[in-house]
């Protein structure tokens, strides 16, 4: 139950924690800008091919998207409570809830892969390849599905990274018998998960709800 190593150049532990949190937030800002370029591509092509995007959105399976969103929100609630429990020095539930978040992440990835499988069956491949685009030769659809694969693919990679880090943190909390002082490190990873969840909260209506009346 030792305190974290106070690095030589920080005046006190509170300053070191604030620096770590600010550093993570700045990293998350740069990640958000990383996604921002793809949001701009989505907006550009949606304005250029409005009706084709409606067709594309109504083509995606709304139910799978909604289940995925619910899973991510559940994961976000679990990891936030896990940090809170660790701060209350109750390590058991903290580790358990972190593992539940990992499971949510894995669940999200499996559902997403199933959805990709459905698309591949229908002949929808990124880059406008596949026989689906022979029957529907409009350009807007090619642009929509390429943007869809890019955005959701990149987001899925980020969820996979989050699951890996959360698994490692759960093991670290268990191995080193971490007390409340270490809660801020788990909090940093929780920030990353919440960020991934917030991105999906926007991706979900963009690809599943906007214009999907059926």
């Amino acid at each position: 139950m030792h305190a974290p190593p106070l690095q030589h150049h920080f005046p006190d532990i509170e300053q070191q924690r604030h620096a770590a949190k600010l550093g993570t937030w700045i990293f998350l800002s740069s990640e958000l800008l990383f996604f921002n370029a793809l949001f701009a591509i989505y907006a550009f092509y949606r304005v250029k091919y409005p009706e084709m995007f409606q067709v594309g959105v109504s083509h995606n399976m709304k139910w799978l998207g909604t289940i995925n969103t619910a899973i991510l929100i559940l994961g976000s609630v679990c990891i936030a409570s896990a940090v809170n429990f660790l701060r209350l020095a109750r390590r058991g539930p903290a580790i358990f809830l972190t593992l539940v978040t990992c499971l949510c992440g894995i669940g999200y990835i499996t559902i997403k892969s199933i959805e990709y499988g459905f698309h591949f069956d229908e002949g929808i491949y990124p880059g406008g390849a596949g026989h689906f685009f022979v029957e529907h030769p409009e350009h807007g659809l090619k642009a929509f599905f390429t943007t869809y694969f890019l955005l959701t693919g990149l987001h899925m990679i980020h969820v996979a990274i989050a699951v890996a880090i959360l698994g490692w943190m759960a093991w670290w909390v268990h191995r080193d018998r971490i007390g409340p002082w270490g809660a801020y490190r788990l909090g940093l990873v929780a920030l990353y998960w919440h960020f991934v969840d917030t991105i999906w909260l926007f991706l979900w209506p963009m690809f599943y709800l906007m214009g999907a009346r059926t």
Binding site: H8, H9, F10, Q15, H18, A19, L22, G23, I26, F27, S29, S30, E31, L33, F34, F35, N36, A37, L38, A40, I41, F44, Y45, K48, Y49, P126, G127, G128, E138, H139, G140, L141, K142, A143, T146, T147, L150
Partner: protein, 527 residues
Amino acid sequence: MKNYLNDETTIWSWVATTDHKRIGLMFFVLTILALMVGGTFALLLRLEHLTPRYTIMSAFAYNQTFTLHGVIMVWFFLIPSIPSVFGNFFVPIMLGAQDVAFPRINLFTVYLYLAGALVVFIGMVVGGTDTGWTFYPPYSAQTYTALMPVLVGVFILGFSTILTGLNLIVTIHTLRAKGMGWMQMPLFCWAMYGVSVIQVLATPVLGMVLLLLTIDHGLDWGLFDPARGGDVVLFQHLFWFYSHPAVYIMILPAMGVISEVIPTFAHKNPLSYRAIAYSTFGIAFIGFLTWGHHMFVSGMSTFDAGIFGILSMFVAVFSAIKVFTWTGTLYKGAVSLKTPLVYVFGFLFLFVFGGMTGVAQATTSLDVHWHDTYFIVAHFHFIMVGASLTAWLAAVHYWWPKMFGRMYPEKWAIAAAILVLLGFVGTFFPQFLLGNGGMPRRYYHYAEKFQPLHVMSTAGSWVLALGLLLALVYLLWSLFYGERAPRNPWGSRSFEWSAPTPPPKHNFEATPVFPPSAYDYSRPVEF
């Protein structure tokens, strides 16, 4: 006497150092190498333009040369030259801290820079790409030259820039000395803060754009392929959303150096500290709104061109405020003309002239004639070489005593400065006239009537190269034979001069107590 240079001299102590001063030195050496490589490409380009047709290389080699000149100079010299070298070295000392907030990440940025440089070097050796540093599809998606290594190399380097920015922001927020508020900080730290904000918020978009181009070129997903619903103007939007703030990444540190050099050599407080501090933020944020002025004739809608035109004008207002404040600082001061100040005067004239031609291009109708001609080449070289390189040279001479404990030879330095400034004007002023005459950019084979101006420009480039070589020679000479530098050779009140020369591993013997203002020349110097 123990200092950060001879503290421990094993190779491992340098390779795995977490001391922000050693990391600054490593970046210093790397960026000078990049400047040399980029500079030789520039001289080759100028040689090629001595005659309208074939001179020393073929069209294909010429296209590769100007592309690599652009990539190396922009990403490997200009962007890291002041933030990664002087930002890493001096911001902790100016704040009274022992090191940056995340020393290990700081070391990681050096290795990211090396990895990016290696990958681009492989690309250069394997065949080099001929798409220009702007990589516009569909040509960049179709070229059969080695485009992928260059894209991946710059992608890796982008992360090095982001992490440097992250490091400096957290350092300035959390590691300021006791009693040093935001308005007591030296102005260089304000400039580093502004640059880091742009680095963190703009470079990710470049990373994504280069990734998309790699996918388009390699996997042929046709995101920008018009035959499959793509739109080439979209790539230009995303590329210039990064590249215009990148231009401010290059000029803001230069402004930070000038805001340090002028008060020191004029022994006077800046005309208004808040004006410079707030206009740094103005440039950092309004800089993000103006990227459309690169695309007035590229098929963008007329309404959008109007919006971007007026927004580009407002950025110039903040630069003008800074220039007004610097010139005002000299008023009623005690000015001693040393080499850094000679470079600063060069900076003032070239930056204002270059900047105002920028405003001229923001008037949309004039840009229709000037776009993609040598007028644009002259404009951005006035800012990148005339302002940013001159400020980098001023910073090198201003902080040379503090970094190495040796004084540079004053007479030689002023001669080199005069050579550099005259060589620069000789090289790039004729290019303004070439641009007016309608000579397009990236032209290997040009009309006969432009030849006299090209010969003048090439002669100027030799003088500029001579001046830079002379500076390199006497600076290396001063490392071994220069006279020992005292703790505060310029009598400056700025905080970094309170540390011993050259500073020990933890910057200060005891935790420093700084006077309330870094520019108070109405009281005698304390250190």
